[in-house]
């Protein structure tokens, strides 16, 4: 039987792993991304997502280099994203060893790129990252370009649009919940999971292991977190223990 997945997310800004709180990155987590990957490998994480959240496109080359170094020691599937604005750069990330491409703003600004990448590398290679933020009336809307521009679209509309363009998976995040320590945005997450056939990865806000269980109960196929994995020793092992005890089927066992 297919297991639910536990995913570790590394947020990279200008080459360093940073902590993200409502999409602001004031805290640098002082270690090398490669070291982080080695720990996650030992701790039986099921997949790794690496996002380049640097504010300008000139960070791309350095990021591709980080991906290449990470891949030498990464023996789980790796999804990477940030500033994928053309097919050549997408290919260079795959050649560096990535398995999946995470695209976000491209779904708004460059749908033909998404379609081309999906048909060239297959739907399973395309992860649609979507950031949800509530407006002043409390209405959840999808926001792109590092949370700077609202699309005016609801999470459900946006998720369906992403799948139509060729996404094989949805990476759901909430600007309001990011780093806020109160669990996932379950209301929007539940709606997105019910609206699409492709797997949904829940992200944003995990501070206790029970938040992971809530994500699975909302319909997610995979649950992701970032900050909590950096600050807790053997974090993914503990997280899996909690998921197993809650009746969620996950892959168990460690690497070493």
């Amino acid at each position: 039987m297919l297991k639910k997945r536990l995913i570790a997310v590394l947020i990279i800004r200008d080459g360093a792993v940073v902590q993200s709180v409502r999409f602001k990155h004031t805290n640098s987590i002082h270690y090398d991304p490669v070291h982080a990957i080695e720990c996650f490998n030992k701790w039986a994480v099921d997949e790794i997502v690496i996002l380049n959240v640097s504010r300008d496109a000139s960070s791309r080359e350095g990021f591709a280099d980080v991906v290449k170094r990470i891949c030498r020691k990464c023996f789980v599937p790796l999804a990477v994203g940030g500033w994928i604005t053309d097919a050549d750069f997408a290919r260079s990330l795959l050649n560096a060893g990535a398995d999946k491409l995470v695209l976000n703003t491209a779904f708004a600004d460059n749908p033909p790129l998404v379609e081309a990448l999906s048909s060239r590398f297959g739907r399973q290679c395309i992860v649609a990252s979507m950031d949800v933020k509530r407006d002043e009336n409390g209405t959840p809307l999808v926001i792109v370009d590092r949370a700077q521009r609202s699309t005016g679209k609801s999470p459900v509309e946006w998720a369906k649009h992403a799948v139509e363009l060729g996404a094989g998976e949805i990476f759901f995040n909430s600007v309001d919940h990011d780093g806020a320590r109160r669990g996932y945005d379950l209301e929007s997450l539940r709606q997105v999971c019910a609206a699409v056939d492709v797997p949904v990865i829940a992200f944003g806000g995990v501070f206790q292991w029970k938040h992971l269980v809530e994500g699975i109960e909302a319909g997610a196929e995979a649950v992701a977190a970032a900050n909590i994995f950096h600050y807790t020793e053997h974090a993914t092992i503990k997280a899996k223990k909690h998921l197993t005890e809650a009746g969620v089927r996950v892959r168990t066992g460690t690497f070493t």
């Binding site: 023996f75 789980v76 060893g97 398995d99 297959g122 196929e221 892959r251 690497f255």
Partner: protein, 214 residues
Amino acid sequence: MTLPLYSRPVAARVAIIDYGMGNIWSVQNALVEVGAVSEVIQHPDQLKGFDKIILPGVGAFGDAMRLLRQDGMDQALGEKVRQGVPTLGVCLGMQLMCKSSTEGGLNQGLGWIDADVVALEPAPGIKLPHMGWNAVTFTRDIPFIHGIPSGTDFYFVHSFHVVCHQASDVLGTCQHGQTFTAMFARDNLFAAQCHPEKSQRGGLQLVKNFVEMP
């Protein structure tokens, strides 16, 4: 005790076939991790002097066969397989070893094994492609899977699966709405539908076993 250098077995040289589809670098990283010497091979005339061959691949069956035929790589590989060179097919590479696939219309494969490739069947509650970690149940025991308990989870990404016509060729099965062949082995041919290079401990053990077998 460390053996003197001259009596250590010489590391196997592994050829990784690069026909333009799939993540060959992940396969090479896994080989480095288990201590094998490998080379990425793009032309049939480079295919000399290797002890083992790995045929990886991600993507569409028809495109892959066209690329393999383009410069005669299909013939060159077939010759090596007939000579008895241990050959491992991974994911699409496993499927290419079969006689045919129905992906994108009926396409002929390399035909090294009595098997065909068909689509996984949709079923209620079953998401396709089959993507994620799933348990492989071994149906027999050979050195290729030594040290890996039956029921170990491996990472899968696929929508089509291999049907072996000789039940004795099946090595391991997996369950996703239906039971399908996750691994097969016959003589010098070995194949996995999952990605050993992305399946942590169990996957690396499989790669190591392949590299170290005589």
